[in-house]
Amino acid sequence: MNRINVISKKLYKIGLVVSLAIFLLFIFYDIHNLESNSKRYLSDHYISEGVQETGAINIVTSVLYDYRAFDTLGEATVLLTAAAILSFLVPITKDKMRGTPFTIIVSQTTQVFIPFLAILGMYLIFFGHLAPGGGFVGGVVIALIPILLTITYRVEFSEYKFKPDKKKVSEDIGAIGFVLIGLLGILTGSNFLANGQANVSLGDAGELISAGLIPYLNIMIGIKVGAGLAIIFNSLIKEK
């Protein structure tokens, strides 16, 4: 009796999911049959005018940091919230990752790796408006440095190198910097997060110093994400 109950429950679950799949299939099929390719006014505009309007070659970056920079602010806030949640969830006592300690090869390699990671992160951040990458990815790569330190030399060393308080502050500074750069737009008589409209010289597209405020926004996000992810990771490790 109990067994039948369990099986019927399982069947019910599968039935639900399958019917959801069938519905989705219908919807996708219907959508696919529509003539939807013509409806790309917005992205056509971005593609044709984006380089002149924002000065960034990477249109994804220009969408992220200029056209829809407000989204990015919200997204950064989500990350900050997550970091704050994790940092307050951890207790004061410290704990390390369990398992066997690594050999000397690992620690040596880590030391070699760290400058490379730093440079890669910097590159991704600074060339965010020219190449794939940007503040988020660059920030993550930079965050890998303390993470690697944590993994190889334990939390104490990592936190000695990068103080948790400092990380938190730099995260906040990154977020504040993003907002402050956005406020520049208001100062010059335009709107919040305005770039080209706020009489910021956009420079020549394709140059490193171009695209107005986008690189600076990228840097701020990079700082924020790097610090935030490092906090998240260390907090998870410390969690006893």
Partner: protein, 488 residues
């Protein structure tokens, strides 16, 4: 209209600065929090005053190719709720919250920013982002006490809200795919050519996603859990703003993007009203069973939200006015109730209904406030809840939902059963000597302020209704909204 964007940025900036002040300058913490809340109040009043005729603020000055913020009477109402609740709650929390003070304020400010963003934005994806901001930070607030129950509630909340978010995101993506834009007005225009079936499927996803956050039965289960062991001042904002912001988003999406004609044709209005009726009946039945005061109030919140949904889904002008007025009233009433509960908890850590026995003789004024607010939430005259319920019932009757109107009155009766239970316990003499920590003026003053609003809005309902009366024209006829947003 710079103020519109400041409404979102100021709480964010405050939150970041609190984060810095935690490490370096600890002394400025309280002045920072209070002064920021006061400036915020001023900003909100400024924006609300300018909400009619509606105006558009374009972030980055990109106009239609970027993200726009739009201040219309509907969002003005929600800003009004923030204005009414935020400063009292902040003043209350400065003394009330003892552990994790900084985190509490960081999350509260971020949550407020998220809600303000949800309310103001006119962009579908931006709406999702701010929804995520507000729900993640409110989830953090649920877990703030780090008790078993708090963490469990936070986990359930996280699971449900993420599930809801993914469905909203799915619908958003499909909408973008179909229309090629994310601006609500343009989507609304494009949607005229989309076949009925696809639109209904999208609507189902939107409705499911948002209702998960609103908590209509049977999607309500996580909601009382989040209330049970969270800091009680947060519950004020949670029931007054977080749940309501989901209502706001749902209504905005449904009325502006899909349009009232489609809602009527697809049968959502009928389903919504029926759903609301079921919800409040069941919620009232469940609320009677609770022994924990916060949980009882949570179930009551579910029921009240159901009334609001009925008002908003009736689909007439009167219904929208009644529903929106009830949103405001419920925020005030529930805020008062939670704040009084919080003072009880603060003074003698009473959480169960049994524990508050005889407290009326210790706190006569606060208990009176509690009685006023609970009678208001039951819907007895001459308090504000009565007026809004009256408007909802009248609207339901006018548009033919006779059963809904009738059951609202039955629900009023049912809700009296459990509120009266609490009140009677409050007024029963207790022989035990109660050791009481006196709540200071900073705790009782916000409570009494909100409680007095219950009476003021009941006697002079025209005060808020001046704003609310302008809402229906924007929702019932989405052409007006679209015209303003497109700047034509």
């Amino acid at each position: 209209m710079e103020a519109a964007v400041w409404v979102i940025i100021l709480p964010l900036l405050t939150a970041f600065f609190i984060g810095i002040s935690k490490v370096y300058v600890k002394k400025i913490f309280v002045p920072l929090v209070i002064s920021s809340a006061i400036i915020y109040l001023y900003l909100l009043i400024l924006v609300i005053n300018n909400s009619y005729p509606p105006n558009v603020y374009s972030v980055g000055a990109w106009r239609l190719i970027g993200i726009n913020l739009m201040v219309d009477p509907f969002s003005g109402l929600f800003l009004l709720i923030i204005a009414l609740l935020f400063l009292p709650v902040i003043i209350f929390s400065v003394k009330y919250i003892k552990s994790y003070k900084h985190e509490y304020f960081i999350f509260t400010y971020i949550m407020t920013a998220g809600i303000a963003g949800m309310v103001l934005t006119a962009d579908l994806f931006n709406l999702y982002v701010f929804l995520e901001v507000s729900s993640l930070s409110s989830c953090a607030l649920v877990a703030l006490k780090k008790t078993n129950k708090g963490l469990e509630g936070a986990y359930k909340y996280l699971v449900m809200s993420t599930l809801g978010s993914f469905f909203i995101l799915l619908a958003t993506i499909l909408t973008y795919y179909l229309t090629g834009t994310l601006n609500i007005a343009e989507i609304s225009l494009e949607f005229n050519e989309i076949p009925f079936k696809i639109k209904s499927a999208l609507m189902a996803f939107f409705v499911f996603g948002y209702v998960l956050k609103i908590g209509l039965i049977p999607l309500h289960f996580w909601l009382p859990d989040t209330y049970e062991d969270s800091p009680i001042p947060y519950n004020v904002l949670s029931s007054g703003l977080v749940m309501k912001s989901a209502v706001y988003a749902l209504i905005k999406v449904l009325y502006i993007i899909f349009g009232i004609d489609f809602l009527d044709k697809s049968g959502l209005l009928q389903i919504g009203v029926f759903w609301g009726v079921i919800t409040f009946i069941v919620a009232h039945l469940l609320a009677f069973q609770q022994s924990n005061l916060s949980r009882l109030l949570a179930y009551s919140s579910i029921a009240q939200i159901a009334y609001i949904m009925i008002g908003l889904f009736v689909g007439t002008e009167g219904g929208l006015i009644g529903g929106n007025f009830h949103i405001l009233n419920h925020a005030i009433m529930k805020g008062t109730l939670f704040l009084v509960t919080a003072i009880f908890y603060y003074s003698l850590s009473a959480v169960n209904i049994e524990d508050i026995k005889g407290l009326a003789y210790k706190f006569p004024i606060l208990s009176f406030t509690f009685v006023v607010a609970s009678l208001a939430i039951v819907g007895l005259p001459p308090f504000n809840g009565f007026i809004s319920k009256w408007l909802i019932v009248e609207a339901a009757l006018e548009s033919g939902f006779v059963y809904a109107a009738f059951f609202i009155l039955v629900g009023t009766f049912l809700s009296l059963t459990y509120y009266l239970k609490v009140i009677i316990t409050l007024y029963t003499k207790n022989d035990k000597e109660i050791v009481v920590e006196e709540p200071g003026l900073s705790l009782s003053l916000p409570t009494i302020f909100l409680g007095s609003l219950c009476i003021v809005f009941g006697v002079v309902p025209s005060l808020p209704l001046r704003l609310i009366n302008k809402i229906p024209t924007f929702l019932l006829d989405n052409g007006e909204y679209i015209r303003v947003l497109l700047g034509g």
